[in-house]
Amino acid sequence: MAEKIDARGLSCPQPVVLTQQAIKKGLTEFQVIVDTGVAKENVLRCVEKNSLSGSAAADGDSFIISVSKK
């Protein structure tokens, strides 16, 4: 089961900070849950920058971003 980071309701840039921390820990397969379009875009950009791939899927009011190796 991939690790899940719940970044819903957090101000900018905390979803990105949490994503960065996960990548730093060496995780390459995990999910980030966010609830705004801006957080989704920011997390995806952060993931791409770190040479991982990310895809977002809408889940009600939230987005689940699945991160994996390229």
Binding site: L10, S11, C12, Q14, E41, R45
Partner: protein, 357 residues
């Protein structure tokens, strides 16, 4: 649907358009190097409502209302209108208040700092350096787990309140101008008396609000993202703003380089720097520059709306208690207030850390 404005080209387009519109607003009547200044314009609104009685800076700026309403309408259409609140609301109020005090010691928000630079006011360089330093301190806190906590979803109507207030302000302005009613305080001289036509100002605000909502344009974020993640996305918009505004200032003959005698500015470098350290730190802790806070309040973010209200109250505090600077230099208690504000932000930064699981 792919969001064009969130692309690199989109953010550059947004920055350039804000720069061009701002400089054009100056040509059409807004104060020099102040085509759009969120801090100055909220200060003018505080004055128009009589919250402070500095009679040279009192006007309901339709640009501010436009930014909120433009964002509100676009957010409704793009389903990004999401009423939310509850993330350390009172702290955000005080961050807004101190951010405004810092901005009024420097005499401008980050947008105006960029516009001052584009007009050749080199004092903006010290201000922007201070802004970067303040954001740098904020980034250190963010890396250590600083958080004001989560917000929570609210009912749809909760997010209408702030945009509705903005609409009311514009209606009050139009009524005042038509009926000479004495409803508002409007400057007869000074920067508050200098403005483009109401319709032009409102249209400019609406348009910028719309594209800023789509592109997530944020001046504080541009510096923060470089420091935090070596991400140069937002800063490309900021650089585009400066480039476009500078170019158009040359065309309009509005470029006057130098330190001395710049419009609505002073040359007390240490407090140009210090004021913006305070603002930068407060913006970083609150998660957005003043313009971005307006945009987010249009999206239904009540915490951002409270930050804006804090800024408006901060403007009243700054002018009622001799904190605000003027062309003659800093206000009597401005430097002391900046230090108090920085201490406040540091306490918040050190104490509001949490491990978010």
């Amino acid at each position: 649907m792919k969001n064009f404005f969130s692309s690199k080209v989109g953010i550059i387009f947004t920055g350039a358009v804000i720069g061009l519109i701002a400089v054009t607003l100056q040509k059409l009547g807004n104060p020099a190097n102040m085509g759009i200044c969120v801090a100055c314009f909220e200060r003018d609104i505080a004055g128009a409502l009589g919250f402070h009685r500095a009679d040279v800076v009192q006007y309901i700026r339709p640009e501010i209302a436009g930014l909120v309403l433009g964002s509100f309408v676009v957010a409704l259409f793009t389903k990004e209108y999401q009423p939310r609140a509850g993330s350390s609301t009172i702290i955000r109020f005080f961050l807004g208040m101190f951010a405004m005090i810092g901005a009024l010691v420097f005499l401008g928000c980050p947008w105006r700092a960029l516009l001052r630079l584009s007009g050749g006011d080199w004092n903006a360089v010290t201000g922007l350096a201070g802004l970067a330093a303040g954001i740098g301190i904020g980034v250190l806190f963010l890396k250590k787990g600083f958080s004001l906590g989560r917000n929570y979803k609210l009912k749809k109507s909760a997010g209408w309140v702030f945009p509705a207030l903005m609409l009311v302000l514009v209606i009050m302005l139009i009524y005042q101008v038509r009926a000479q009613s004495g409803l508002l305080f409007l400057s007869a001289k000074g920067p508050g008396s200098m403005h483009a036509r109401i319709t032009v100002s409102l249209a400019a605000g609406l348009f910028i609000g719309a594209i800023a909502q789509r592109s997530r344009f944020c001046t504080m974020g541009s510096i923060r993202d470089i420091m935090l993640a070596k991400d140069f996305h937002l800063v490309s918009g900021v650089l585009a703003l400066v480039a476009a505004a500078t170019a158009l200032n040359f065309v309009y003959g509005q470029f006057h380089p130098g330190f001395a005698n710049q419009p609505i500015a002073h040359t007390v470098h240490i407090w140009n720097f210090g004021g913006m350290v305070l603002s930068g730190l407060a913006f970083a802790l609150a998660g957005g520059c003043p313009g971005r806070q307006l945009i987010m309040s249009g999206e239904g973010d009540s915490d951002s709306a409270v930050f804006v209200v804090g800024m408006i109250v901060g403007a009243a505090v700054a002018h009622n208690f001799l904190l605000a600077s003027s062309a003659a230099g800093t206000g009597k208690f401005g430097p002391a207030a900046v230090i108090i504000g920085i201490v406040f932000c540091l306490i918040i930064g050190f104490t509001m850390r949490e491990k978010v699981s």
